[in-house]
Structures are given as C-alpha cells and as structure tokens.
Symmetry: C2
Subunit: 454 residues, 2 copies
C-alpha cells in the first residue's frame, strides 16, 4: 500500500474567496487612531498611503471577499500549494501525532508573502498607481512585492533592514531580477532614516524604522503609495487563502487539526493558516488550539503589553491597539529577520486577549536545531522564521507521545531557507548567539508607552 505524502488541489479547486475573520469575532478590534488627533481614523486619512479598495477591506465586516479573477490567475502560477503529511518527520519524532504542513515555499519568491503582494499590487494598479514603497526584514516581503509589482508595471522602492541587507544579499538580487530597487535601512533617503542615523550611525535597523522610511516616502509624494507585508487587517485577509485551501485538502483525508501552528512576526502567515479553522471554533464550537510562535528575543505576545502603539519606530503610522514591546524596541540581530517586529496587529492581539489563540516563544538555537531535523527527514530546508513553528511542532508531538494521543497537528511551512544559508553556516560554526531579551529591556521599552496618551 503506497502512502501518500502530498494532498493536492487542482487549479479549479482553488478557493475563490478570502475569509474576513473580523466579521465573526465576538469582540471587534478597537479603532485605529490618527497619530496626530488621536481620534478614530477615517478612510480618507489613509487615502494618501493605500488605494481605496484596500482601505475598504481594512474596515470591512463582510464575512467573505471575492478574489479578483486577475489575482486568481496570478495565484495559479504557484497555487494551490501542497498540503504534506510529514511522515518521515513523524517517524523521527516517534510520535502518535499526525503532522501536516502547508508548503507555502513553492511560490517563486519562496514564501507565503506573494499571497498578499499580488492583490496589493493589483488594487494599486486598478487605481492607477505607478510607484510604491515598502519595508522588508529578511527580504521575503520585499522580494514578494517586487515579484508582484513587476506584473503590473509598478515601480517599487524597498527599504531593507540593514542587518538583513548584509546577512541576506541574495534577496536583494531577487528584488533586482524582478525589476525593483532596494536600499539598506536606515538610509539617507528619508528624514526618518537620517534621524535614526544621527542618533546611532551603526544602527542595525529594524522593521519599525524601515516602515517609517517607506511611509514617509509615500506620504510625501501624491503619486506614490505604500504597502505593508503584515500586521494590517487586509494583509491577514489575503493570507487566508492558505487556510481555505488546507480545509479543502484535509477534507480529502479523515483528519481535522487539533492544533494549528504558525511562526509569528507581524502575524500574516500565522493568521493565514489559522483564521479559516478558527471560524469553526467561533461558529461551530470546535476546540482546535492555535499557537503563534515568536522568537524569545522579540516576545511581544508572551511578554509584551496590550496598548495603543505606533506601527513604526518614528511614529508616522496610525496608533494600533495591540500587544507590543514599544515602538522603539530594537530586537537583537537574530537571523529570523521576518520575526523582528515590536507589535502584533489589532486582530491577532484581540484574539489573544480574548483567549481564542495562544502564544509561545522559542530561542534561536532551538529553532535552528528543529530546522535541521526537518531538512534531514522531509528534505526541504526551512527559512529561519519557519523553524520557530517547527520547534513548537516538536514540543507538541512529544507531548502527544507522552499523552499517548494521536493528535493532528497542522503547521504553516511559511518559506524555504535557500536564501538564508549563511544563517545555517553560522549555526554549524557555533557562531550563532542564543539571544534572549531581558526583563529590564522589556520593562524600559514598554514604560515609554505611557507617553502615548489616547
């Protein structure tokens, strides 16, 4: 009897709608506030940064939103993505648990990020936008948006966090191949960047700083719009294609997840795989657990504070109600650059506050160990971000063994690590530090949140 590894959907079976969890949440998110007036933000306040269709999605209460045909067509370049039963990994872990992963690494840029990059580029194109800006951490978002804007002849300026710009040169090259421009952030191109450099010329940068630069450039030019790769509601919305596909794929088996796991930076890949299953908890009384896994060095979910805070370091974005470490918290230079973000976004934070999802923190060394175990059994080399999810899967699989229960675990394989090999080299050479942020660092950074009076 041949055992199947991959559960495949045809292109015709691809879901045609994104799921908007906001419509089903028992407690809605508190409103975003204008950074100047501290009043609830109005759609027109955001019109300088985003096309109107995305602003509508940001505040929509519709349960499902149709995916435009042109976006579906581009999705089909790599979607539906495979759902894989990790049989070899299960065997290595000697667990009664069934482990499935959704392989989002099959997209051309190698991660889940094009799921939102393509619709964002599309809606900008439909409203006549010719130039966009964005930030990127490890480069997965920047390369995905370069890939997407290329299809619509939109120019793109990417601000890439300096530490990753130096650690991950190949992602810069990908951005160039797809026709976009990229600079290290903090840069001298913006007031925000110059301000940071004046304070700390050796600043490694952070996602918060890079967002400030990209937002500033877009805000100053009426022809230019800004794009964010995570955190915001419309971004999480687009990522739900992952979970909607996984539901259809698991229907072809006898299994349903007891636990859903995703690594967590701003929340987009975790939300993408979780929200469609969480709908069954909210509406049908299911008891699936959802675990967001963050790095121990940037623990906003497990050790941050629920508060209004800026999305960027300089304070240009709306105030977001969220779990945060404080907007000027600069995380240690871990290799999972995509997880180096101080805040968690409004929807995920509300869900965590309401006990509808859980959070765990994992150290860098543990995550690389997990990644290598996975690569040696399932073959694929995970991105440093993704290894955090895998480390948690290992814990849950061991727990299942101790309990003797055949749980079904589903995790999001958010991206491959082929462009992050230098990180693995460091791990093997023993030069990789196991950062953990101290109580004192966190306390000091969070204290400053008191200055934000709303």
């Amino acid at each position: 009897m041949k055992k199947t590894h991959k559960i495949i959907l045809t292109e015709k079976e691809m879901p045609t709608h994104w799921y908007n969890i906001h419509s089903d949440m028992p407690n809605k998110t508190m409103p975003l506030l204008h950074p100047g007036t501290k009043q609830p933000i109005k759609p027109e306040d955001l019109a300088g940064l985003f096309p109107m269709e995305l602003i509508k999605q940001e505040v929509s209460m519709e349960q499902f939103i149709e995916i435009p045909e042109q976006v579906q067509d581009l999705y089909r370049l790599w979607r539906p993505s495979p759902l894989v039963r990790a049989r070899n990994f299960e065997k290595l872990l000697d667990t009664p648990a069934k482990i499935y992963f959704k392989n989002e690494s099959v997209s051309p840029p190698g991660s889940h990020k094009p799921n939102t990059a393509v619709p964002q580029a599309y809606y900008n194109y439909k409203e006549g936008v010719k130039k966009m800006t964005t930030e990127t951490g490890a480069g997965q978002w920047g390369s995905a948006l370069a890939f997407a804007t290329g299809f619509f002849d939109i120019g793109l300026q990417v601000f890439m966090v300096k530490v990753s710009y130096n650690q991950k040169p190949y992602r810069k090259s990908m951005i160039n191949i797809w026709g976009a421009d990229v600079v290290a952030s903090p840069s001298g191109f913006t007031e925000s960047g110059r301000k940071i450099l004046a304070q700390d010329p050796g600043s490694p940068g952070s996602l918060g700083i890079a967002i400030s630069e990209a937002v500033e450039m877009a805000a100053k030019d009426p022809e230019t719009k800004y794009s964010l790769g995570s955190v915001l509601n419309h971004v999480l919305l687009h990522q739900t294609i992952i979970g909607e596909e996984a539901i259809k794929q698991l229907e072809k088996t006898d299994d349903y997840p007891d636990i859903v796991i995703g690594c967590f930076g701003g929340g987009s890949n975790f939300s993408g795989i979780s929200f469609p299953f969480l709908r069954d908890n909210l509406l049908n009384g299911n008891k699936t657990r959802f675990i967001a896994v963050e790095p121990a060095s940037c623990p906003k979910l497990t050790r941050g504070k629920f508060s209004y805070d800026f999305g960027d370091t300089v304070g240009l974005t709306p105030l977001i109600p969220m779990y945060t470490l404080g907007h000027d918290f600069i995380p240690p230079k871990i290799h999972a650059g995509g997880l180096r973000y101080h805040g968690a976004g409004a929807i995920v934070s509300q869900l965590l506050k309401d006990g509808l999802i859980e959070a765990q923190a994992v150290r860098q060394g543990e995550s690389f160990e997990a990644g290598i175990m996975f690569a040696r059994t399932e073959g694929i080399i995970p991105a440093p971000e993704t290894t955090h999810a895998i480390a948690q899967v290992i814990k849950e699989a061991k727990q299942a063994r101790e309990e003797g229960v055949a749980k079904t675990i589903l995790f999001n394989f958010s991206g491959h690590g082929l462009v992050d090999m230098a990180s693995y080299d460091k791990y093997f050479s023993g030069a990789l530090h196991d950062y953990e942020t101290t109580e004192d660092d966190i306390r000091k950074s969070i204290q400053k949140l008191e200055n934000i009076s709303v």
Copy 2:
C-alpha cells in the same frame, strides 16, 4: 473561462518504470573500454566503483526497469513535478507557439538531480555501502546526492569544482545541512588533485578534475563507492521519470510536442525529458525534434569530435565513445557550472551521430537575458544552466511566429537559480564576460585525442 497554468499528476499517477532507450536505439553504443587494457569493459571491472545493480542497469537492454518502491516513496516527497503552460512567457514573445515546461525545480535541492541521486543512494544502501564519493560543478549534483545519502545513512565526500565552490557558497551549506562533507577541487586530498595543483596552483578546477579525485578516493578504499551525476547510461535512465510524467501530463491536453529542449552538460536533464518522447520517433514514426543546448564556451556537441575519450581529466575512468573536446579541456569560468564538462556520454553521442537529436550552442550573456525575461513573466528564477534551454525556446518561439505555425514546444526547467543569485548580480553589474572558446583552443585540445589509441 479560467486558463490553467499547471497540469498536475497525483502521487498515484506517478509512473512506476524508467525507460531504457538503449533497447530501442537503431545503432547501439560502442562498448566502454578499460583505460588500461583498452578492451571492452566487463561488469566486474566496475565493481570497485559502483554497486552491481547499477552496473546491470548500465548495460541493460530491457526496455523498462521498475522503480523500487522505496525510491518511489522518496520521489513522492516532491514528485510528480508540475508541467506548466508558460502562458505569460508566450504572451511576451508574441508567439503562436504553445510553450510548456516541466518544473524540476520543485525538488528540495532545487533541480532534477535527485531523480538519480535517490536511486543511486538506494542501490548502494541495498548492497551495504557505508561511504560514497562524488564530484559536483555548480553544486546541484553534490547537494542532491547529500540529500539522498542522508536518507540511507551513507557518508558522502563531495569534490566541488573550485570556481563554483567560491561562486556558490550556499550550495556548500546545503550539502552540510543534509549531513555530507565538501571540499574544493583540485584538493590536496588525492594524488589527482595534488598533480593538478603542482602543474597549476591557481587551477579553477573542472568537472573532469573533480571526477578524477572522487574516483581515485573510491577506488582506493574497498568500503567506498563512487557516484556520477550525469553521462552514464544508468543516470540517464533514472532521469526518464521526467519525460514519462510529461507524457501522462500532455495526455490531459490536446497537445504533443513538436520540439523538446533541454540544456546540456553531461546529458542527464536533456535525456530525462527527451528519451520517452524520442521513443515515439523511434517506434511510431513521430517527427518531434530534440534540441540539446550547450554553452558556446564548452561546445562539445556542436564543435567537438566523436572519439573514445576519458570521462575525467586524469584518465582514471573507462574510455567512453562520445562527442568530446578532449578530457583535459578546461572550460572558461562561466556561471552555468553544471554545463562545464568536456564530453557528452555514449548514448546521447550516438543519437547525435545518427541524426536523431540536434544540438545548439548559446552564449552566456544571451542565456542570462533569457532567464530574466522568464523570471519576469513566469515568476520563477532559473538556474544559469536552465537559462540556456530558455534562450533556445525563445529562438524557436520566434521562428514559429515567423512561420505562423502554432508549434508545441516543451522544455525542461531543470533547476531554479535561488542559490546562484551572485551570477545574476554580475550580469546586472556588467561584470559578466561573454566567453566563447576559440577554434584554436578546440583544435589543440582535440588533437591530443590522437594519443588515445584504441
């Protein structure tokens, strides 16, 4: 009406047999000769290097050979691979031609190489082998064999051509992640390496030299076997899974290829996609054209000589009847390291001699241009080797436009370029040389073949 991009086979539809074209060739290949006695080689002469099952496949005249169940199971980690209709690329080329590609980049190492790495590791494992050696050019073969030997707990020493070892550091890291060892070749570890280094301490290496090193190390240790990633009959045999899948996939459309294209180093990916379709030419009178595309800097098919020659530089392998530039020809340092090989293997050479396949040469600059055009339309960034096939596809698609004929073109997308980004950087910076080998270089190298009396 939604247009389909990918034609998918389920794991259950995966072919269960490899196709051995040797059984159907009108003229069989001339025998391999022992490098010492110059007599046709006997199976026992190869027993020090290869397990017996692979030696049997090397000389088999069976038409189909069953794929062992354990190999099929590992294949299913990534196979069947998608067949993709390159609709966006067709549109860019404004051609009436239909262009399909078989996407072999979806394997964990990112190329077609695991198709033979896995069965080679398996047959070695079945015969109790604990250690293997191999050479690698760009690292695609070395990383694929590391991936494969890892599943069977076989130790592996990879000799990687020095120019690629320095150009492509990430493939070394992949080899390490999957648990194997890698050194730059020529190395000081073998007599062959030391001999080359004594003559030319700055030698960039070549596949021929690296083969000498790997063969020497295996020959000297009765516990160690050697593995080759191309050229030999059993390697080409294993790659036919590509074409066998493509046949089943095209049966789901109304199309059949008029032209089949693959880039050409030692012949494995070209043969893998071509031979199953070539069967229809040989047995059913079809008229499909098969085009092997080599780099202009290493033009053994278009400008080499059909002769007995060694597979390696030092002269340790059997003498192979093939198109060759001479076994001590050192190709210029082009970025398509996998195509830097002096010879073409016995089966492909015989087919070319008999006019059953064609060959074309493409320059490096032209190939990178083609690769970027492809990346900007279909999304995926091709390996420098694969861009050679794409450059030829462009020529044939333009020809189809001029003729106004809706030909069907099928090519093998042998691997992605995510680990070769430094090569694209060089292209963009203008630092990439457009090598072409001179008539004089070729004449001198080929002249030395006269010293090989058989």
